[in-house]
Amino acid sequence: MIWRFSDGTVAHLGGEIEGASLFAQELRAALADPPVGVQIYGGPGGGAWLDVNDAALFDAWLSQEMSRPFRRELSLRMTERPDDVPELPADPRDFSGMPEGALV
């Protein structure tokens, strides 16, 4: 599975990142310093550690990194995304007993 970006970066499921752009370099640097976090639902316990072989998490991580505010000037776009990216896992937290007006 392959993800392509407007700056020429190509990401492969499994964690291989091709490209000489700054974005590509920073993705490689992040993967070289595990564990890498993916913020999915926000708040304590709402994220996951990246598994580069998990297409849903890898896709979410690439999207997260592409859209970071400090990369906005790079005007990055995902130009190719695999069709068969699975859904992200449901929020692992159980808030069924959480009272109305609580803060997470």
């Binding site: 700054l22 564990p35 976090g37 993916v38 913020q39 926000g42 708040g43 304590p44 316990g45 709402g46 994220g47 996951a48 550690w49 970071r68 505010p69 400090f70 906005r72 000037e73 790079l74 692992p92 937290r93 159980d94 808030f95 959480m98 009272p99 109305e100 007006g101 609580a102 803060l103 997470v104």
Partner: protein, 501 residues
């Protein structure tokens, strides 16, 4: 005449100009004449037969002028004993301040983050009857920052040069278009060299007499140890509050505390920084900060070792500076700890890292565990949290915002300052309450949330998310190193929140 720049809200710009000035090695004019042109930029000397002691006195008075933003007239009066000719004194003043300013700008413009967003440089001269031929020719030259043309043409290019460089965003640079044929003129020898990195200055032993090399090495080494500590005023929040007031409004107090803590920490020896960080032994985030200090000389201050260059070292200094002057608060009782179930972590948070006026969850609050995640419900005084590092402290910061209206209003002010007057966007409901957010100005989108009715909010994630990273160092939601690197003001703000009203 006022200095060529004034102290602005961009306080780091001023720091870097001063830093560039301080790294210049003081020497006699005779020694300076022996140097090649490339090295002269990092040397400071004064003509007129002044001995080294007098050169040093002039240098120190320039340092004071730069730190205080003194006018030339004030400087002239201060150096009457050393520089009797007012015209020459003005030349020394203008050259030194302009060189410091431009070197500071250069240091800023060559930071990787800045280069990424502003990759084009523009030569900007003041055009009037005093403009020299070279500055008039170079004016308007626009080239990529890494173009070799800049090597040898970093202003000042001559005595009393008023030119500077501007860095442009990629879009602006491309719109204006790069200069096809930049002028070939070069400045006189000794001018225009690329400023070197701090403390890189060393004479080449192959080029100079051994006696001179030994003397200059001694001076360069002494220079490294003589980074001036900041005046006591800069160690206080009162000094910095006006700097942040315009942009951050009511949040300025917390930011000013954080900035003052940073300045204090940079003036502490590395050993003292360690001693302060050791007050928080159970916080994994402080492990990351301690790790950043590896290799630093324990007997010297971080400032003397250019500690302000490394974001994690800066963060270590800021935390140490915060802890150093924090008045002691009463220890948490054993009963409270049992009720909280937070053990050492809660003790650290409540007893060591917050100021005495910060109100915390008392014994009337109920603490319980969750398998994953956490929440705070103020109406029933209930906190639930999982065993992950940082979750309890994240929730306790919600409690702090609940129980300390002043700190809550600062968090709201910080959030709205980041939105720059734009209305926050509606993000639906959570636990039956409206959620508004401005998620585009923070390390992670979750930080930009506020809860409750738009004009009557009751919670934010500003204090909680930064605290969580300080405690844990690394989470699924981010890394402390990212926070201090990409959003250092948010980190300084956290320290101010912990210091309290």
């Amino acid at each position: 005449m006022a200095l060529a720049w004034t102290t602005t809200a961009d306080v780091d710009r001023y720091d870097e100009a001063l830093e560039a000035h301080l790294k210049r090695v003081r020497m006699t004019a005779e020694e300076a004449r022996a140097l090649d042109d490339g090295m002269k930029g990092d040397a400071f000397w004064v003509s007129g037969g002044l001995q080294l002691e007098a050169v040093q006195r002039v240098f120190d008075k320039l340092t004071v002028a730069l730190e205080r933003g003194d006018s030339f007239e004030e400087f002239r009066k201060a150096v009457l004993g050393e520089l009797r000719d007012p015209a020459y004194a003005e030349l020394v003043f203008r050259n030194a301040t302009q060189r410091a300013y431009n070197a500071g700008r250069y240091a800023q413009m060559t930071e990787p983050e800045t280069l990424r967003f502003r990759p084009y440089w523009l030569y900007d001269a003041i055009l009037d009857g005093r403009t020299t031929v070279i500055c008039r020719e170079c004016n308007g030259t626009l080239l990529p920052a890494d173009d070799p043309w800049w090597n040898g043409r970093i202003p000042p290019l001559h005595h009393s040069c008023r030119s500077s460089l501007r860095n442009l965003r990629r879009s602006e640079g491309e719109k204006r278009g790069v200069t096809k044929e930049p002028p070939a003129l070069l400045p006189p020898p000794g001018w225009g060299a690329l400023p070197t990195k701090p403390f890189a200055w060393r004479p080449d032993p192959k080029k100079y007499e051994p006696g001179l090399v030994a003397e200059l090495n001694k001076k360069a080494a002494a220079n490294e140890n003589q980074r001036a500590s900041r005046p006591p005023a800069e160690h206080t929040a009162e000094h910095w509050e006006p700097t942040y007031r315009e942009r951050y409004g009511d949040a300025a107090k917390s930011l000013a505390h954080g900035k003052a803590a940073l300045e204090r920490g940079l003036d502490m020896t590395v050993e003292d920084v360690h001693a302060q960080l050791n007050k928080l032994p159970y916080m994994l985030g402080t492990e990351a900060l301690r790790g950043a200090l590896k290799g630093a000389d324990g007997k010297r201050t971080l400032r003397a070792q250019a500690g302000e260059v490394d974001p994690l070292r800066k963060a270590a200094a800021a935390v140490a500076g915060h802890l150093q002057t924090l008045p002691k608060r009463p220890k948490v009782t054993h009963r409270q700890l049992v009720k909280m179930g937070g053990g050492k972590r809660a003790l650290d948070l409540m007893s060591a890292i917050t100021g005495p006026k910060v109100k915390h969850a008392g014994e009337d609050w109920r603490f319980g565990r969750l398998r994953r995640g956490g929440y705070t419900h103020a109406p029933t005084k209930e906190v639930k949290y999982d065993s992950a590092e940082g979750t309890l402290e994240h929730e306790l910061c919600h409690v702090i915002e609940e129980l300390n209206p002043e700190l809550f209003s600062r968090a709201i002010a910080f959030l709205h300052a980041r939105a720059r007057g734009e209305k926050l966007e509606y993000h639906g409901k959570m636990a039956g309450q409206d959620v508004y957010a401005w998620d585009d100005q923070f390390l992670h989108w979750y930080t930009g949330r506020k809860y409750g009715a738009y004009d009557e909010p009751f919670g934010t994630e500003i204090t909680s998310t930064a605290m969580e990273l300080l405690v844990a160092g690394r989470l699924e939601n981010g890394k402390l190193s990212e926070l201090v690197n990409k959003d250092p003001e948010h980190f300084l703000f956290l320290l101010g929140q912990l210091a309290g009203p």
